[in-house]
Each structure stands twice: as C-alpha cells, then as structure tokens.
C-alpha cells in the first residue's frame, strides 16, 4: 500500500466477500429447487431465492468495482483519495441499501422486473451512491493533476454505468417498451461500459504485473474500447428479437452481436502477449492467474458461449431456456467476478499481515476449484439446456415433462456448484485469515516489489 487512503478498499472488499458468500447460499438453494420437490415451497419459493441470488451478485460485483477503483486511483494518480470519509459514508449507505433490499425481497417487496427488482427508494440510493463515488474519484484525480488513460477508461465506464441505470427509474405504459429499456441498463452494462471497467482493471494489473510498456498497453486499451462499442451498442438488439419490435432489429442484432467476441479475443490476446513479451515484473503470481484467467474465461463464457446463441435463427429455439443460464453464469463469472477477485488478490498482500506476495497454497486451491466448478456448472446448464431445446422446443414435449427428463443434469449442477462453492469458501477464508494492516510501503521497497523476476 503506497497511500494511506487505499485502506478504504479493504472494507469494500470485505463487504464484497461476505455478499459473494451469501449469493452462493441462495444459488445453491435455487438449484436444489430445480431438483425438487421443495420443502420450502410456501416459505421461501424459487422466485425469492433467485431474486436474492442475482441481486447479491450485482451488488457484490459493484462493491468490488468501487473498492478496486479506490485502490487503483491513488496508485495511478499518485495521491491520497480526496475524501476517505466520503468513501466510508458511501460504503455505509450502500450496505444499508443492499441489506434492506434483500430483507425486502424475502417478503416479495420489489418491482418484479428482472434484475431491476430494487424498489424505487433503493434505486434512488443507488444513484446517490454512484454520484458520491464519482465525485470522490473525480476530485482525487483533479487534485492530483495526473490523469492516466487507464484511469480515464475506468472512470468513463463507471460514469456510463451510472447514466445507463437511469432508464430503470422510469415507468413505461407498454410492457414491450419497458423490456427494451431494461436492456439499455442490463445489456449495455455487461456488454458495454462494464467491459470498459474490466479493461481498465486489466490494463492496470498488466502494467503492474508485467514489464509491459504503459504507452503500448494503453493504445491497445483504446482499440479494445472501440471494438466493444462498435459491436456492443447495436448488439443490444439480440435481446429485442422476440419482444415485439420491428423486423429490422433481427439482422442488425445478429450481425453486430456476432462481432462482440472480436473485442474479447482482443482482450485475451492483449493480456497474453503483455506477459509473454515483457515477462513478469512482480512476484504476485496468484494475481496473475486471476488476471489472465479472467481474460480467457471471458472469451469462453461471453465470447464463445454468447456467440453460440446470438444469431436469430438459433436464438429462436434457445431463447428462454437453460442455454441462457449456461452463458449468463460463465460470462458473468469470467468477466466480472474474476476481475474483482484479481484486483483483491493483487491488493491483499499489502493490506493484511503475514502474507506472501506469491499467494498462498489455499489461494491456488481456491483458484482451481472455482475454475473447475464453474466450468462444470456451465456444462451442466449446457447439457440441460440443449436437452430442453430438443425436447420442449423442437419435439413439443410439455415443459414439466421435459424438466423431469433432464433431472440428471440438475444433479450434476449441484455437484459442480458444490465444488465451486468450496473454492469460493477458501477464497473468503484466505481473505479474512489474517488481520488487516494499513502501513505505507514506498515503491520499490520489500515486500511490495523485489527485483524483476524474468519469466518468458
């Protein structure tokens, strides 16, 4: 840690860890309900566990984004944060918002609009928190006078995320129109501005971890951002196909969303070649695993598995089946969960006691268990989804009868999800294992960065 105020990141990460753990509890509950019968049918039905599962995901990932930004901006701008007090008030407000939202969901207090279930008061608090966050970050950068490209991309991503949340606050008379604007938030988040955030963290990590040249990395970062938006903005239409829009959105959505993986291929090549060409300049190899892992898993989960069902003539059959769940899990995990875990792994050795830079054995176990678990979950959803498409959509077997015939895949889902949860449990344990330590270590001094370790 080079700046005292970077300590706020620790508390954001700690909250993210707790919420991540809680997310999995509700995920496992939901999976158990797929298998059924459900002893909690009238107390805690599927719709409730599922809302909590997805909302906790969004909240913890955003908490991680904010924490990681508070960690990264002082490093990039070489200054203390503008206001740590503001950062803590923001975190407090955010946690209160998140906890009350989840309690509300237990009683079905919510808007019932997928992924945007937050009640209006909560939505307003979310906007306020985002504004506080942006203000704090912008003031930090302004005061320092040093504004890097990496930081700029991250900041625009965060600001874009705030702006794109606004359509979710409005009321629409027409259900079709409300669906369209719902995707302005959800799709343009995950396939637009959040990819800028991911790109920003990725560039930061690569600059720190590898010996790669900042100018070169930042040039390619721009190219990636350009590719994301050429494809991603018009690619929104891959969610418009069957909801009651003019015909022309089908070819447009198909064509542009099929281009989306180009940016993801770019991102993976970017990460790989930075390390390949310039070697390692930092001992934290565990953080390197998470960083490269995130770029590659995004390519698999978002790029490949997104492409698999993005064309209208395929989507017509797969839309609304477990094939979507297959892609959603792999993509979200690879792109956003893993990049947050990478930032945490990178920052952790300098925020806690008794920790080797290289990462612990537990840390490696956690990495591989999570990867294997998530890969297995993706396969379980895929096999279940493909079975569902053939039986229910193509052969016309009833929904309930189809679900009975694909039970074995739900067993596999629960088994692999358990593996995944053990991996996450180890990560959380590793995080809290040692006390936090907020000492300032100057650049170049041990243990932050011993001499260059050449790996080629």
């Amino acid at each position: 840690m080079r700046y005292r105020s970077q300590a706020v990141a620790y508390w954001y990460f700690a909250v993210a860890m707790v919420l991540f753990g809680l997310q999995l509890v509700f995920g496992l509950l939901s999976a158990a309900k797929y298998l059924g019968p459900d002893p909690l049918l009238n107390i805690l039905p599927f719709d409730v566990t599922k809302v909590i599962h997805t909302n906790l995901l969004i909240v913890w990932v955003l908490t991680g984004f904010m924490g990681a930004t508070y960690w990264m901006v002082p490093d990039e701008s070489r200054t203390e944060l503008y206001s740590t007090k503001l950062a803590y008030i923001q975190l407090g407000l955010w946690v209160v918002m998140g906890v009350t939202a989840v309690i509300g969901y237990l009683f079905r207090y919510g808007t019932g609009n997928k992924l945007l279930e937050q009640p209006l008061p909560h939505k307003i608090v979310i906007v306020i928190v985002m504004l506080m966050f942006l203000y704090n970050v912008i003031m930090t950068i302004r005061r320092s006078g040093r504004f890097t490209t990496t930081e700029g991309v991250l900041l625009l991503g965060v600001a874009g995320a705030a702006v794109l949340y606004l359509p979710a606050l409005l009321h629409y008379e027409n259900y079709t129109v409300s669906i369209i604007y719902r995707w302005w938030t959800i799709h343009l988040w995950v396939e637009g501005v959040w990819e800028m955030i991911q790109g920003g963290f990725l560039a930061y990590l690569l600059i720190r971890l590898s010996g790669a040249d900042r100018e070169v990395l930042e040039k390619w970062l721009y190219v990636i951002v350009g590719l994301v938006f050429i494809a991603g903005i018009l690619g929104t239409a891959h969610h418009y196909y069957w909801v009651g829009v003019p015909q022309y959105w089908l070819p447009i959505g198909g064509f542009f969303s099929a281009l989306e993986p180009v940016a993801l291929v770019g991102m993976a090549m970017y990460a790989y070649s930075a390390i390949r060409r310039s070697g390692l300049a930092h001992p934290n190899t565990l953080a390197l695993h998470w960083t490269i892992g995130s770029a590659l898993f995004t390519l698999f989960g978002a790029g490949l598995l997104g492409l698999a069902h993005t064309w209208p003539s395929v989507n017509k059959w797969t839309h609304g089946t477990l094939v979507t769940a297959m892609h959603g899990h792999a993509a979200f995990y690879g792109a956003y969960a893993m990049i947050v875990l990478a930032m945490i792994t990178f920052a952790l050795p300098s925020m806690t006691h008794d920790r080797r830079e290289q990462g612990s054995a537990v840390g490696y176990w956690s990495f591989w268990l999570q990867l294997a678990g998530m890969f297995g979950m993706t396969l379980s959803f895929a096999t279940a989804g493909i079975g569902q498409v053939y039986l229910e959509r193509i052969l016309g077997l009833g929904y309930l009868d189809t679900q009975l015939k694909i039970q074995v895949h739900f067993l596999m889902l629960i088994a692999t999800a358990t593996l995944f949860s053990i991996g996450v449990g180890l990560f959380i344990w590793d995080f809290f294992r040692t006390r936090p330590r907020f000492e300032i270590v100057a650049e170049g001094a041990p243990p932050a960065a011993p001499a260059r370790v050449a790996v080629t």
Binding site: P37, D47, N113, T176, I179, I233, E392, G396, G398
Partner: protein
C-alpha cells in the same frame, strides 16, 4: 497506429454506433403502437401488468422468453388455456398439478378475483403482440404434441391407474375442480384422448387439434353444416364423445362414409360424470 489514432478510433466508433442506435430506436417508437396493439393496452391490461410485477411472476416464469427458467413460458398461455381454466388454476394450482409427481409446483399466489381477471387480460394482450412469430412451436405446460413422449419408461406400457398417470398429471381423489378432473381424464381414460388429440394449436394427429375447440363449436352449432342435436358448446362436446359420428370434422383422415375414426366406446366405458368433466375441461379451450 499511434495512441492518438487509437483514441480517435474508440471515440468515432462509439459515436457512430450510438447515433445509429438512437436513430433506429426513435424509428421503432413510431411502430410500437401497431406492433403491440397499443389501443388494447387498456387500464385493465396495465393493472394486470402490475399484478404480474407485484407477485414476482417473472422470477419463475418467462414472458416473451424473458425471465426465469423454473416454470413454463407464458407468452401464448391464453391461446392454450381458456379463461375459466386459468381462473381455476390461479385460485389453486395444487388442484391441477402434483408436486410429488413432477417435482415442481407453483405455490398458491393468493390473488384476489379482480387481480386474476386483470392478469388474464394482460396475458391475453401479451399473446397478441406481433413478436416475429415466437415461439416457433407452441410451448406446452404438460403433455406432448407427439403422443406418448411424456410417459416415463414405466408408464409406457399401460394406462389408467394413478401410478401410471403421465408425469404431469395429478393423482385424482375425486374432490378436485371438475376442470382439473377433466384434464386428468383426458390423459388417463382408455384409450387416452391425448393419444389422438393435442391441445397445441395446429398439431393435428389421428384426431384434430382441440385447441380452440369451444370457440369452433360455438360457430358450428349455428351453421347449416351442423346436423347434430347439440344446442350449446357443452352438449356439443358431450355429443362428440358419446357419438362421434353425429357430426364429423371434415377431412378424409378423420372419417369415412360419415363414420368417425374416433372410438365410439366411450359412451359405455366412461361414467356420465367423467364425460361431463371432459366436456367441462374442453370447453375452456377457447
């Protein structure tokens, strides 16, 4: 390419895509009214939409294929199920399905009668939105477009008793809603009706699809082609079961010389009550 050019590329491509996207969005707004029959998006439909949201239906079901995958898609449900069926079902889903049998059940939602009516109006509006013909084939809740595919291996050989009911059907105790009893009988009498009839629109097998049979019957009774005795929909359906040849649906694959290919054994093999329940169920298929 240098860094400045790369930045220019990022800004220009984002700008272009944004302009194109906003332009098309504006254009789409001039088409939504027509595509979604906005004139029918009445206050009742809107309050039905609010009911849909209030009870969080979208986190189990999909509508337009969007939502959760724990329960069937409901985009065209009002075209597969009649209003009376849906009302009875919403009041108590457990009268229609058995959790032990297919491991899943919709919890009772405790809607008021008013909410149920509004909800059905909303779902009906949804079913008529011009959404590029999706789904390409009807998505059924239970049963099958192709007979027999919904039977488990143990159930394939015989039919009739509770333990050999198809996976979707509830074991019948005799105290349920007559519509639910009729729906169960449709799959369990011998020979099973669903061996020849689908309730999915357009799926004609050995017998014609019974989707919308009630509406068709209503039209038919008043017309000169009809030679049977029935005066209303229910009696038409009872007649169709008891004496299939009283009136035959046109089509050489359905009858020859005025004699229907549908078995004429039900009159003796089923009780009057069972036939009544079957008619009760079929008359919800509007």
């Amino acid at each position: 390419m240098n860094k400045r050019q790369a930045r220019l590329f990022a800004i220009a491509s984002t700008g272009l895509a944004t302009v194109a996207f906003l332009g098309l969005t504006l254009h789409s707004h001039t088409k939504f009214d027509e595509l979604t029959n906005a004139q029918n998006n009445t206050p009742q439909v809107q309050s039905g939409r609010d009911v849909w949201h209030k009870y969080n239906c979208v986190n189990c079901h999909t509508l337009f294929g969007e939502g959760a995958y724990y329960a069937p898609d409901l985009t065209k449900i009002t075209q597969l199920r009649g209003e009376q069926y849906l009302k009875a079902y919403m009041r108590d889903p457990s009268a229609f399905y058995d959790e032990q049998r297919h491991r899943r059940l919709m919890p009772k939602q405790n809607l008021s009668e008013r909410e149920i009516t509004d909800l059905i109006a909303f779902l009906d509006w949804v079913s008529k939105v011009d959404n590029q013909g999706w789904p390409p084939r009807p998505i059924l809740v239970t049963g099958a477009s192709i007979p027999g595919t919904d039977f488990g291996p143990a159930q394939g050989t015989s039919s009739g008793t509770a333990s050999t009911l198809p996976p979707g059907a509830r074991p019948v105790t005799g105290t349920e809603n007559p519509i639910a009893l009729g729906a169960a009988a449709f799959r369990s009498v011998a020979p099973a009706c669903n061996a020849c009839h689908s309730t999915a629109p357009g799926v004609n097998m050995a017998g014609p699809s019974l989707a919308g049979v009630a509406a068709r019957a209503e039209e038919l009774i008043g017309s000169p082609e009809y030679k049977g005795q029935a005066k209303d929909v229910k009696s038409y359906l009872i007649e169709s079961i008891r004496t299939p040849s009283a009136y035959v649906v046109p089509g050489t694959m359905y009858s020859a010389d005025g004699t229907s290919f549908m078995p004429n054994t039900y009159e003796h093999d089923l009780s009057a009550e069972q036939i009544d329940q079957l008619a009760e169920y079929l008359s919800t298929l509007k």
